[in-house]
Symmetry: C3
Subunit: 310 residues, 3 copies
């Protein structure tokens, strides 16, 4: 009760007009920007083409978003265990339902590159002070969180926020940060919408000379997603960078947002969509970007469907 | 009355079958191709990255479409004042309602480059003689209007023409002309559709090494669009050139044509769409192409929403 | 009767659960991969720009899919005569109705390059053994059909398979094969859907330094599609390769899958869509990719509509 009152005061009356009725929960996420050493191709090979890569070609230092417990006491997994996703790319999966308020407590721990960072969220309602974009003479501290400083982004999920959406650095060095992996997704369900049994986050982005999924390249490094016949599976798909991609899953079709059956769907930079189906096709399948040069550069992985439990 | 009769004779019976019932207005536009000197970055700077550009890097000679009064007597603004759009790119905003006929009287005043030009319109009904495309051995004068010559393009807006559409040069040197800014938009409302309170034209196109919006690059040069809380705002978005873009506005979401809530939307060469919302988010916001290399090269601007008038 | 029983046994119970009720037909196609010498620009010219090309710039050896009679006895046309399509690119037009089963009998006759090939189909239901993708340690012979070997792909068209879909090589050298023309389309109608009077297959793909439609570049080489006023025409459009395209037809608009009127539509690698309209616009019209550099490199053709028969 006290929390809601405080939040109302902070957000102010104007934005509440646009927000859904105040019956939702308030969800807190604690996130930090942390420097890490990252290997795009941990097994050092492209299994399909039979190519080997040296660590000098695949390892680099970068900054990522990492989820923490309250007050940034202890780092925890960005995406729930068993999801198949790497631990640090994408950043924390921010979950909410329409009507909820989100407080994203962000701390910049980038003492390696010593750069300002921020978080800019798609799909949700917020005031300019939670926009997170750096525009000299216009934006405030939300778009320019200096090392060892913090900022709290206050967001509201409306009924028009249902879906899967990107967030990413929009600070002064956003272009380097985005290529380095400073992005993640929001997954927002409708007020009474059924949660999926399995949820996979797929982020297409270039990394150096590779084309990565969740920061990894080539089968054996990219996430292995797993389900079972009968599961309601959900894919949260987005792209970051400068290229358009086409998301394809073998042996499956889905209804796109228009109710049209497709098995390949374009996603451009910062576009995003949710794909859902009731699983019925046991086997090991490929999922990949169907842009030929992207497949060749690593944008491909496997999806494994177990038979129905008997 | 006399006008309609003449028009009927000129268009001929065949195309009338496809056209809507003859209750609409006939609208005349007078347009010329005129040589101009254009500065892509008038303030000579990229305010976000803190970069300076010399005029030698940003000024070039080109040809644009310009609106005139009847019989090309006097040039007038391409887009109504207060719209935020530059005066010469895009070309004249051609407005109509479903059921209307349009006569676009075009004169080629390109005495600088001395090239043939034309106008090719998307979204509307017309006979081949109003197509405006240059195909040797097939097309006529409509696709090859030589300097100091004129051509009248006769178009009909059907019920299937409602929306925002491109037009552009389709003459023998169309590729240079399009990179130089020879394009504009048609904005066609349904027969009884409400007109927006504010209408913004956003054309994404490359210009030399820059990525421009309406022929300008970087915040401070690109159009500053303005509205007020409560306004019905409409964005007419298209792309020209060879690249795909993703249109994004901060702090807002809209229903795309399928009724799906998005805040980022792909637009490829000559694709176009209309975005509408009732404004409810006061503040200064960024709008931009979300392709990273395009943002870096100038494809970004600001949108300013004033509080509700009290 | 005997055929259906055999097929049921082979497909197995699991996939039948997902498949439509067993009232459909079983359709057999006999296809081989065959080496050919191909000329992208048979008339050696770009008629619009007035450029000439030498055969040394336009002729190359490649491998294509070719349709045969039963047991690969005799080659036949890939696409029915009079369609305007080239004979060998695209590969055989695979037609079915929702509920049908398809058996695609594939033989690799590529004795020129001596490479393994396969067929991977979009939009239809199949078991992993009919997927056709090469993944070392995972896939079987379906993804790696060696020269002079055969494989039968067993597919089912569901209600969610209605539309136009790609198929293509997904073997070990798929990237070279796809650039060389190893692709075609499936066209699947609803159970009681009306077949079109004219059906055109449009595949956008790069070929060397050209941008081709169905393996040909420039007006005069690309397919000339023909119809008559009153015809129900259908365009099956897809892209192969690494680039996004925008399909545009002059003088026409169509409802896209969302019921929105468009005349230009993005198609990325392995995306596909069907466009239908009742023809009402006599004349010779251009159809093309609206990406400027693609138009310049050959991705343009003509569509000729005869007046209504009197």
């Amino acid at each position: 009760m006290r929390r809601l009152t405080t939040l109302t005061t902070l957000i102010g009356a104007a934005s509440l007009l646009a927000a859904p009725s105040a019956s939702g929960a308030t969800r807190d996420y604690w996130v930090a920007a942390v420097p890490v050493t990252w290997n795009i191709v941990p097994n050092q090979r492209d299994a399909i083409m039979g190519m080997e890569y040296a660590p000098s070609e695949t390892v680099f230092g970068t900054v990522v978003y990492r989820r923490y417990t309250r007050n940034w006491r202890r780092p925890i997994a960005n995406v729930p265990a068993g999801s198949g996703n790497s631990n640090l790319m994408p950043g924390p999966l921010i979950r909410a339902r329409a009507g909820d308020r989100l407080r994203i407590h962000f701390k910049n721990l980038d003492t390696a590159f010593n750069r300002s960072h921020s978080m800019h969220f798609h799909g949700v309602h917020y005031k300019p002070s939670s926009d997170g974009a750096f525009v000299p003479g216009v934006s405030g501290r939300d778009g320019d969180v200096k090392p060892n400083r913090t900022w709290t982004y206050r967001l509201t999920a409306g009924n028009d926020s249902v879906g899967a959406w990107p967030y990413h650095d929009h600070g002064p060095s956003m272009h380097e940060s985005i290529e380095g992996g400073m992005w993640g997704m929001l997954s927002i369900l409708g007020k009474r919408e059924r949660a999926p049994d399995r949820e996979y986050v797929v982020v297409f982005s270039p990394m150096g000379s590779f084309q990565a999924i969740d920061g990894r390249a080539f089968v054996g490094n990219t996430p292995v997603f797993r389900s079972r016949v009968g599961d309601l599976v959900q894919w949260d798909v987005m792209a970051m960078g400068s290229e358009h991609h086409t998301f394809h899953v073998h042996g499956h079709r889905w209804k796109n947002a228009m109710g049209v059956d497709v098995d390949t769907q374009t996603v451009g930079p910062a576009e995003s969509f949710r794909v859902r189906w009731r699983e019925d096709a046991p086997g090991t399948w490929l999922y990949h970007c169907h842009v030929e040069t992207h497949m060749e550069a690593g944008m491909i992985g496997t999806y494994s469907v177990a038979p129905r439990r008997t």
